[in-house]
Symmetry: none
Subunit: 186 residues, 4 copies
DNA sequence: CATGAATGAGGATTCATTCAT
DNA sequence: CATGAATGAATCCTCATTCAT
């Protein structure tokens, strides 16, 4: 039956992500992943044809996940200020609530043997549709997509990785939101 | 006694950096590094006590290097606009001219088993001294250091990683410079 | 799934013992053991978690084996003289017939990183039960267990290690038996 | 000057012995020995041509040493009972006072790649001269040298290795002395 | 005589993967 | 579908030894 298998594959995915947060990409061997997932190494090959295949598949899924999470925070009817606030805070919340997945994606996206598989573009197109709409209405300045992407996401990741105390984080995040509202809104 | 070969250690460092750009942290095994450097695997242990020790040492050096490179582009007497321009373009040029080192540092800084060793704070303090001076004079808005760091460096890294054609890159970079000048200058 | 090969594990054990007789504890590397056993080095780790684990396990088994061998030579209804004769000669025969195992145990028992694992006490308790019974009946003098153990086993090992010709050995062994009968029997 | 060199060689010897007590024959590598002795690995090759040569030389010296220690406890004019007492207690004291050397010799003497170098016979000849003299005078029973050696030394080593508390040891040692006096004296 | 860098063989162990069950 | 033993290449690292200084 499907139920058992689905659940086993989920355990494998979670194990990869958890292990890579703890020990880095180097530390994630098939046998460790299997142990962490409570399955046998050979079982992993039932679901994936190779380690590389497995990593890419999980990486792809996780990459998507962060932007799907983000989209749920965003409503069509938000004005530009609200939209920027939602993107920044939503993305940040994602990094906190899904620390493991975030760390996993961060590592994979910087590894030349894995990263080519997924491009951020594919994941963020929906968000850019929304931004483009506001640019057309003259609410958001007509910067290029590259520039928008550069100032919207990497700074949030930076704050997420370097966060210390809750208060600091809250203040820094608020400041970043205001900065980007000033910068992007006409 | 044979004298310690400074040049040999340099070759090892370059080999690490080159190999990690090509094959990622996973692919950088001691034997591959040795081969790339033209030394014997055992020789590496004359210069470093372990692989971890080696990676940290080279990571530390490379991290510093990027900011030393940056500082050379900056002059005390620049005004705020020039300073921002120099930081953005200087940092970007660094990523282009030292692609290998940049990729190496990017990967290490996201790997939980290596990154704790070096903090960006330690490397960028000189730049922040310059920014603080301008903030005091009222030339640069009084955002927190975290926010400044978040909008100054990660967006440049983003453009560096995602650059395609030369023209595009030039345009995007110019746009980013203007954005940050608008954002940061009173 | 392939069933765990009991016979393969036996081959590994024999290989360890044989190799250590020939080349000493120093010479018993995993790869040599594997070669001697006709298995692959990695296969050893299917049966043992580490070299240390393997050595202890085999050492423990071999230690027991010598005293089980001894017990088979001994009958409940023997009188004191017969018992001493049987212990001395039985133990000696063991060292001759299982030279490899004997040499292996001798080496392990003197190595500080292995020996703490097995105590002779655990192996000889049955023999001491028999001796205690004779002590109670007044057939054997009431020396302490330590003294009994000291004069019963180490001298036999000494003769076993230093034996030259068959005749000599036979004579020395007979002499030792008589000495201990005189010494221990009331 | 000879002084420096002599002292350095002494340090090497002590290091070997100390290290082998702690970590067994396996653990005594040239580099560890050098570190323990405070010299450089290459320096060891000034004094010995190879590791094997070094081990044999130190083993030979240490073997002799135990019996020289023993001889100092023995006086020509002792009667048979005193002689046996002196041998047993002298040898035991040696194992306690020179635990490191004793453990080193014990390990080497059981290792087939080292032991052939030294035979106990060579070291104990003086003691046997004394015993033979008493045998001629009819004070000590005319057992063969092999039997004498088998009951005189190995039991002491056994007690030395298996000693726990001071009281126990004292009692066991006294008992062993009395046993051997009864056994060997007419 | 002492040194310390260099070496290449070999150390123990883990790897990703396969295969028979 | 799941398993777990088997594999041979690869892992990091230490070994004894040599050599130029």
């Amino acid at each position: 039956m499907r139920t058992r298998d689905e659940e086993k594959q989920q355990r494998i995915k979670k194990a990869i992500v958890r292990l890579i947060l703890r020990e880095g990409i180097n530390g994630a061997s098939i046998s460790k992943i299997a142990q962490e997932a409570g399955v046998f190494p050979a079982t992993i090959y039932v679901y994936y044809t190779s380690k590389e295949d497995m990593l890419s598949a999980v990486y792809r899924e996780c990459s998507m996940q962060s932007y799907r999470f983000l989209m749920r925070r965003i409503a069509e009817e938000m004005d530009a200020a609200q939209l920027i606030d939602a993107i920044i805070r939503g993305y940040f919340e994602y990094t906190v609530e899904h620390e493991e997945v975030f760390s996993f994606v961060e590592q994979c996206s910087h590894c030349p043997t894995i990263s080519p598989i997924v491009s951020e573009k594919d994941c963020t197109c929906e968000i850019f549709d929304l931004l483009h709409a506001r640019q057309k209405k003259g609410e958001i300045r007509s910067y290029s997509d590259a520039s928008l992407a550069a100032v919207l996401f990497p700074p949030v990741r930076y704050l997420a990785v370097n966060r210390r105390t809750l208060e600091n984080t809250e203040r820094e995040l608020g400041e970043l939101v205001r900065m980007l509202q000033v910068l992007l809104i006409e």
